[in-house]
């Protein structure tokens, strides 16, 4: 359930990621890095509302713009 009438959906592009790890610094609940090559690992496609601000921050700070956050209507599946 969400209080707003939208939720955020996160996607990552593994081909763009350079393994800088800045996303993990912003929000380690939602992002991790694969142990073998440092490429981003998405832990939550539909993160909790409490982490929205940090997730948006992670998308902004990612130097290779590998993280996309989009608003979708309704509740997480």
């Amino acid at each position: 359930m969400s209080n707003n009438n939208y939720i955020l959906r996160v996607t990552v592009d593994e081909n763009l990621c350079v393994g800088a790890g800045l996303c993990v610094l912003s929000s380690s609940d939602v992002f991790d890095q694969r142990d073998e090559d440092g490429v981003v690992k998405l832990l939550q496609e539909y993160p909790d509302q409490a982490s929205y601000e940090k997730v948006l921050g992670a998308a902004r700070k990612c130097p290779s713009k590998a993280i996309k956050v989009e608003q979708v209507n309704g509740d997480a599946p």
Partner: protein, 417 residues
Amino acid sequence: MSVVPEHVVIVGGGQAGHQAASSLRDEGYVGRITLVGEEPQLPYQRPPLSKAWLAGGLNDGDVHLETEDWFAVNHIDHWRGERVVGLDRAARRLTTGGGETLGYDHLILATGARNRPLPLALEGIAGVLSLRSLADATALQTQLAGARQVVIVGAGFLGLEVATVIRASGIDVQVVEATGRVMSRALGEQMGLALYARHQLQGICFHFNRRVVGITHAQGRASAVQLDDGQQLAADLVLVAIGVQANAELAVQADLATDNGVVVDAFLQTADASVSAIGDCACFTHGFDEGARWRLESVQNAVDQGRYIAGRLMGREEPYRQVPIFWSEQAGCRLQMAGVAAGDDLEVPCGDAHSEGFSVLRYRDARLVGVESLNRPADHMAARKLLLRGLSPALEEARQPGFDLRTWLASAAALQA
């Protein structure tokens, strides 16, 4: 025991300065933070300016590190468009170009670096540009719209990234380089050659071991670049990308040591305990490399030093110690570097330089000091772990055909456990 300062002032609102402010709040610092930056924008990141932003896929807002609200929510006083011009250490006070004064309990210099100009008199010649800031990038993008022939001076990471983007849009690109190969400061010979081959495939033309001695202009606009062997390269746009110099004027003025940047110790502190320096402007004693002094220019360095300084001001006492990493996107490849291999004496290739992915191990005195990887992120990640733990594969082993860094790391880790 150190006392947590009441008012931290950070000069420079770039990647390092922003990170220090952000990390101070993450660490629970409740004192006053003032971030003073000369640029008019919100803090932003520079890497996309020579890559995705220049290629046209991003807005200015996409490179901002924070929104306006963030500063209010986190109680960070952000002075924009304000240049600090005076530092009085005895009074612990700064003055700005706008005539304001600002006292501090701890001062963090995060003033970054600026592009080195060509040592030629070029005043009044339009069409000669450099790239460091969002304003520079905007000017470059605007002028590229009408350009047909571009000459880039300097085959460092910046020049080559821009060359890649420009070439992809069908414009003619020639690169003039004073040394004998691409990225000769950052990369070893073998990786340099591998990259060079890929740039040639894109149709970029190189002039090595050549210096620019003049720029011909017609009606105040650049029309050709003159080289020291007499060649004239026709150009309607010239990009100067010959490296940077640290912004260390405040330290000089305040009698703090400088040497290729603001000199700081392994705690990123100057000789004055209330002044630290981080990021591109700081020349620091590295815990790793037997006390060698480094000044690095990378996002990782800016971010990790920003985080470190916040922790130190909150009372943590260990020295700064992070494996330096860098990446670049050029000629359609992802290049990643771990460690600092300056002064190395031996290179061991892993894989085939002509294949899609390729790495080079760089040794000094038979010890691994850096790894360069082209489209081989797994090698890069293994290298970071290995360098952090001070592990080094023996030369004989690394030279075996089929040697794999990741496999080696796994077995070394198993042995240590």
